[in-house]
């Protein structure tokens, strides 16, 4: 075995096995491989995944159905239909609320412009990234699916 063969072939292999064996002996927390789905990697603070329509502490919806998110959306995947609040059926503070709010997540590019355009901070992109599904229809997220549950 010439010196060249040792340097270019055997040495890197040995070095590689060395790294592997070192990692094997390391503590579980420090390991590079994450055992998804049992374990989850911590996400960056600005990660943008699934949209959520948030509420005020009072339980009223923040969304006022202004359609600014739909206007800002470069993928044109948001559809908003507004309606008027009445005193007997109050969904949001003020005059107007979203009667329909739909996002086509197949079209969405998760750019976050909707979040930026929202004047009330109603639409936010949170960290729920597991969005796979079987049918195209299931990617049409309606207002009921997007709306945050009322906190106790």
């Amino acid at each position: 075995m010439s010196f060249e063969v040792f340097r270019d072939v055997a040495k890197p292999i040995i070095a590689g096995f060395g790294i592997t064996s070192r990692r094997l002996l390391q503590q579980k927390e420090k390991r590079a491989t994450i055992q998804y789905p049992e374990d989850r990697r911590e996400q960056f603070t600005r990660t943008r995944w699934r949209h959520v329509l948030t509420r005020y502490d009072s339980g009223l919806e923040r969304c006022i159905g202004c359609s600014l998110c739909a206007g800002a959306c470069p993928a044109r995947c948001i559809y908003v239909e507004a309606a008027e609040n009445s005193d007997s059926d109050r969904r949001s503070p003020g005059e107007r609320y979203a009667a329909r709010y739909e996002i086509n997540l197949l079209r969405c590019i998760f750019c976050g412009y909707c979040q930026e355009a929202c004047p009330t901070g109603a639409i936010v992109l949170r960290k729920d990234f597991e969005l796979a599904n079987y049918d195209r229809e299931d990617f049409l997220y309606t207002k009921e699916m997007l709306l945050e549950p009322i906190r106790e």
Binding site: I64, C66, S67, Y79, A82, E84, E95, T120
Partner: protein
């Protein structure tokens, strides 16, 4: 509105560029000649300037004899300043920008920041001007003015007092354009607010226009409220099909559904105004009563059918009726559909009984004055019908003629009309006295007759509508007045009121020789001489004896946009596309041919009228069918040279057709 002082021009220097403008033209208008813009709120080109909002401040100076320029010490309002010789205007200087910023900051002191929920947001002059000229942040930290948010001024108009910037456009509209003087300002200073007198309903027939001219979201449409935002909408130029005036409108739609109507500029027809009937009368597009599939009667029930099945049923029914068939139609059908409807009955089925008229006595209309031509008349006699109700846009022209050009208007009607306010003579007559009064006017003996003669003596016109034929003796009265007009050299106009009634008349959707008219057809159904009847978007149950006629008709086809009372009697029901759901041309009351293109898709299986008739004709008489409306328009022009302008590309503002075939042949445009 430019102040016209003859044709003299003066030289004005705007931002260092010298141009010639008519003397007395307002500076806001003059700068447009250079492609520049002065931001405005209260100024509107069709209304008198008031200088209320101060948004149009510009620096003004005058050239001195020694060549130097002497600037005025303070900025001037460009909307009230007429151009004069040697004037120097600066629209882009630093101090002008500072002034604009200041004005906007003051306007925004009390303007709420609810743009996201405001219906005007996105197409709001206040938003646009603030973005272009205003301060980027607000220094105002105190409590803003708080007033009622959504106060309904009428069933159509909502008033949000917090948003009002007190420009007075709405108040001036009711004073200068529609003429009801219904709105006025209450209180003074920051608490000044537009309102109706004694807080009554805002009942103007033109109230929808104030929504469009309001530079903020203070006046909004109750119907459009929260329906969409401007960037959600797609818009298509269209022609209003609420009445025969044929106003040009923008047809706004979202996701294939009609949303709202806005006025579109056509100087020959509606300038930029719309009436409430047109602006708020298009909701049938979204009606749940829309017909979606052809229906065929099986025993007591309607069964949904395919077009082929429906046609088969129709062909069977028509063939068994032989020549005893008749067709009645409404007037909200494009020229192409009416032409093929007429051809189906007169050429294919060999019947002469076709009609589109529904007035009690039937006659043909005669129109000599185009709508814009009313402005130039010296005297106008309004006879029998209320123009604001039947011919809203003709009414606005008439009012403009009377108030701006001093046209003498004589009103002779049974009911109180809006035209009384500016008429020199307003005379009330009994419902049954129409013929008697017309005779009186023609005889020229009475006091009223002398006044009418005085009104018509020079360059006069008579304005009336086909509604007069509903009054006893109305038809005869119109004939007398037509003769009178011919004798005293005045123009006679009996404007039709149905959307495309003029088109139907020009295309000859009228009983042929020996054919039955509307009333004859309905009687014929009862007596059994008419065996099969085709209803094209009309409902005879609303007229006397209609129910009975439909019940006794052996075979009835109902073709319409929406379900109606008449649908229940039909053997076959055909769904038809509404006007903006198809390509087609429309003829308004002054014979202006206007093209409308498809804005939205027709719901369900419905088809345009022309396609239905083309397919039925094909089944009755194999021939090459028409594949598109343009081909039909060519066939119409071949048959009737008056329609020649329609065969080529129509200009955007439409083309007025000649009254007679001879005139069209001679190439005379009028």
């Amino acid at each position: 509105m430019a102040v016209d002082e003859g044709h003299r021009t003066v030289s004005v220097t705007i931002n260092g560029i010298e141009i010639e403008v008519p003397q007395g033209e307002l500076i806001v208008e003059s700068v447009k000649r250079l492609g520049l813009e002065i931001p405005v709120f209260c100024y509107h080109p069709r209304m008198k300037p008031v200088g209320m909002c101060r948004m149009c401040l510009v620096e003004i100076g005058f050239k001195q004899p020694d060549g130097s320029v002497r600037m005025m010490p303070k900025p001037q309002a460009g909307c009230t300043l007429p151009a004069s010789e040697g004037m120097v205007v600066l629209t882009d200087s630093e101090s002008v920008h500072r002034d604009r910023k200041g004005v906007l900051e003051f306007l925004l002191v009390n303007h709420p920041l609810d743009c996201p929920v405001c219906d005007r947001g996105g197409e709001c002059p206040l938003q646009n001007n603030t973005l272009a000229y205003g301060p980027s942040t607000s220094r105002f930290i105190d409590l803003k003015r708080h007033l009622p948010k959504a106060y309904p001024l009428s069933q159509y108009v909502m008033l949000d007092l917090e948003r009002c910037i007190q420009c007075g456009r709405c108040v001036r509209f009711t004073e200068e354009i529609s003429g009801e003087h219904e709105l006025a300002f209450r209180f003074r200073g920051a608490s000044m607010q537009p309102s109706t007198f004694q807080l009554l309903d805002f009942e103007s027939k033109f109230s929808g226009n104030v929504i469009e001219i309001c530079p903020v979201g203070a006046l909004t449409s109750a119907q459009y409220r929260f329906r969409a935002r401007p960037w959600d909408l797609q818009t298509t130029p269209a022609v209003c099909t609420a009445c025969s005036n044929g106003c040009n409108v923008w047809f706004d739609h979202r996701a294939g559904r009609f949303v709202r109507i806005n006025g579109r500029i056509n100087e020959g027809v509606n300038e930029e105004w719309t009436c409430d009937k047109g602006k708020f009368g298009h909701d049938y597009y979204n009606s749940t009563d829309r017909l979606r599939t052809p229906l065929v009667r099986k025993g007591d029930q309607f069964v949904e059918a395919t077009w082929a099945e429906a046609y088969e049923e129709i062909v069977k029914g028509l063939e068994s009726a032989g020549k005893d068939v008749a067709g009645l139609c409404g007037t909200r059908i494009a020229n192409e559909g009416l032409f093929l409807f007429n051809r189906l009955f007169k050429q294919v089925l060999g019947s002469r009984s076709v009609d589109h008229r529904w007035t009690r006595t039937l006659g043909t209309s005669r129109v000599q004055t185009p709508i814009a031509g009313i402005e130039g008349k010296k005297g106008v006699l309004v006879f029998g019908s209320n123009p604001a109700e039947d011919l809203p846009i003709v009414f606005l022209r008439l009012r403009k003629a009377a108030t701006r050009n001093g046209t003498q208007v004589t009103v002779v009607t049974p009911d109180v009309t809006e035209a009384d306010a500016f008429a020199t003579v307003a005379s009330r007559i009994g419902q049954g006295d129409v013929l008697k009064v017309a005779q009186e006017i023609v005889d020229g003996q009475s006091e009223l007759a002398r006044k009418v003669a005085d009104c018509l003596k020079e360059d006069g016109a008579i304005v009336t509508s086909d509604r007069v034929r509903n009054l006893p003796g109305g038809g005869e009265a119109l004939r007398l007045l037509e003769d009178l007009a011919a004798r005293c050299g005045a123009e006679f106009n009996c404007y039709p009121t149905g959307p495309n009634a003029m088109g139907a008349e020009l295309l000859g959707v009228l009983p042929g020789d020996g054919g039955l008219d509307t009333w004859g057809i309905l009687q014929g159904c009862c007596s059994g001489t008419i065996k099969a009847l085709w209803l094209l978007d009309c409902d005879p149950t609303t007229v006397e004896g209609g129910d009975q006629a439909l019940e006794s008709a052996e075979f009835l086809v109902y073709q319409g946009v929406t379900r109606s009372e008449a649908t229940a009697f039909a053997n076959v029901v055909l769904p038809m596309a509404a006007p903006a759901e198809q390509d087609g041309t429309w003829t308004n009351c002054e014979r202006r041919l206007q093209r409308m293109t498809q804005a939205i898709a027709a719901p369900g299986d419905s088809k345009p009228a022309w396609r239905i008739f083309s397919e039925v004709i094909l089944r009755l008489q194999p021939s090459t069918p028409f594949f598109n409306p343009r081909e039909i328009m060519k066939a119409i022009a071949d048959a009737d040279p008056r329609f020649l302008p329609g065969a080529s590309d129509l200009p955007e503002e439409g083309a007025i057709l000649s009254a007679t075939t001879q005139a069209a042949m001679a190439g005379d445009g009028a």
